[in-house]
Symmetry: C2
Subunit: 229 residues, 2 copies
Amino acid sequence: MRYAVLGTGIVGRTLAARLDALGHEVVVGTRDAAATRARTEPDRMGTAPYARWEAEHPRVRLASFAQAAAEAQVVLAALDGQSALTALHAAGADALAGKVLIDVSNPLDFSAGFPPRFDPVDTDSLGEQVQRAFPDARVVKSLNTVNCEVMVDPARIPGAHSIFVCGNDPEAKKSVSALLAEFGWPAAEIVDLGGIEAARGTEMLVRLWLTMMGRFGTADVNIRVVKAP
Amino acid sequence: MRYAVLGTGIVGRTLAARLDALGHEVVVGTRDAAATRARTEPDRMGTAPYARWEAEHPRVRLASFAQAAAEAQVVLAALDGQSALTALHAAGADALAGKVLIDVSNPLDFSAGFPPRFDPVDTDSLGEQVQRAFPDARVVKSLNTVNCEVMVDPARIPGAHSIFVCGNDPEAKKSVSALLAEFGWPAAEIVDLGGIEAARGTEMLVRLWLTMMGRFGTADVNIRVVKAP
C-alpha cells in the first residue's frame, strides 16, 4: 500500500518508520520540504532534526503535503491539533477525495509548551471538523488515544488494551482496522465506536491520558474497554 | 460507619441501598423531605417515586441535606452536576468540615433530556469546584466514571476493570478506597490519580462512556487502566 504521512514530528516519523518496516511505500508530507531538511535544531518537543531521521530511513521520501497526498492511497494526518486543518487544506480536497484519511491528531495547543492546552467541547471534535472540511475524504479517527510508540507497537504495554476507530464509512474503518492489525493490535481490542462524532469521546480522553502519564511517569499507558457480554 | 447520601435519584438510592445492605447506618439527604415523600410520579429519569423505594428500605432514613450531613461521618454527593453545589451549600460548610466528602457527580445538564449536555473545560472540574467551595471538607472524586449499578457491584462486568480516586487528602483517599473494597472493587483496580485536579480527566471520560453505552446498548461498560510495569 502507498501511504502518505502528513507531519514530520515524532508521531509522523514513528508511523512512517513502522509503515516502511512493514514493507509499505511511504511519503512524508510537510509544508516545505527544503525548509524541513534545512533545520538543524531540535523541534519544540525536543525531536532531532528531520535530516538526521531521513538519513536513517532512506526509503521514506519527503514531499509537500499536496504531492504526498496526491500520490498516496491512504493518508495519515499526524499533525498537532492547531495545524491539522491548515495542512490538510494544503494537501487539497482533490488529493484527499475518495481516500481513507486517518486522523490521529488531538486538539492540543502546544504553543505555550508542555503540558499542552486543551479546549474540548461536547458538540464537535477535530475528527468531525476534518470530515466536514473534506466531505469526499473517508475520515477515520483512530490511534489518538495512545502515545506514538504504542500506536505502532501495542505489545509495549503488557496485557490486553484497546484502540478505537470511528468514522462514517464502514469500509474505511475495515481498512484502518486491517492496518491496526498490521501494527499488532488484536482484532478483539479494536473498538468500533460508530460515526465520526464519536471522536468527541476519544479526543476528550486525552485529558485522562495526560494525567495518567504524569502520575505514572510513563507514556506506556492505555485503557481496555470492558463490558458485559 | 454513618453515611449521608445526598440525592434521592437512582444514583443516591443505589448507593444508599448498598451501604445499608453492608450494615452501615445511612441517611439520605434531600432538599425537602416532605416534598420528596409526597411525589407520586416518576422523576425525569423514569425513577419511581421515593416513597415506594423508602418502603422497601425501612432502615434508611430521609432528612434534609443539612441534617443528613450533620449526622454523618462520611458524605456522598450523588447529585447531578447542576445541583451539586446548591445541595452542598444547603448541607452547610460546618456540617462538611473535616469530613470525607465523596463526589460521584458528573457535570451533566439533563434539563433538556437525554442525552445530557456537557460543557467540559480543561482548567477546572466539578470536583475542584466542590473542594474550593468547601475548603475544610476532604473531597475525594470517585465512582463518577461508571453506572450506579456498577459502582456498588463491579462484578456485573466480568474481568478486571478500574475505578479512580483523586483528592488532596491521602487519608481520605485511603478511607474511600476501603469503601470501594467493600463495594467489591479489587485493590489492584483502584487507581489513585493524585490531587483533586485529576477530576478533570475522569469527568471528561463521561463523553466516551456515554458513546460506548449508546453503541453497545448497555450501561455495564467500563475501562481498565493498563500500563507498562
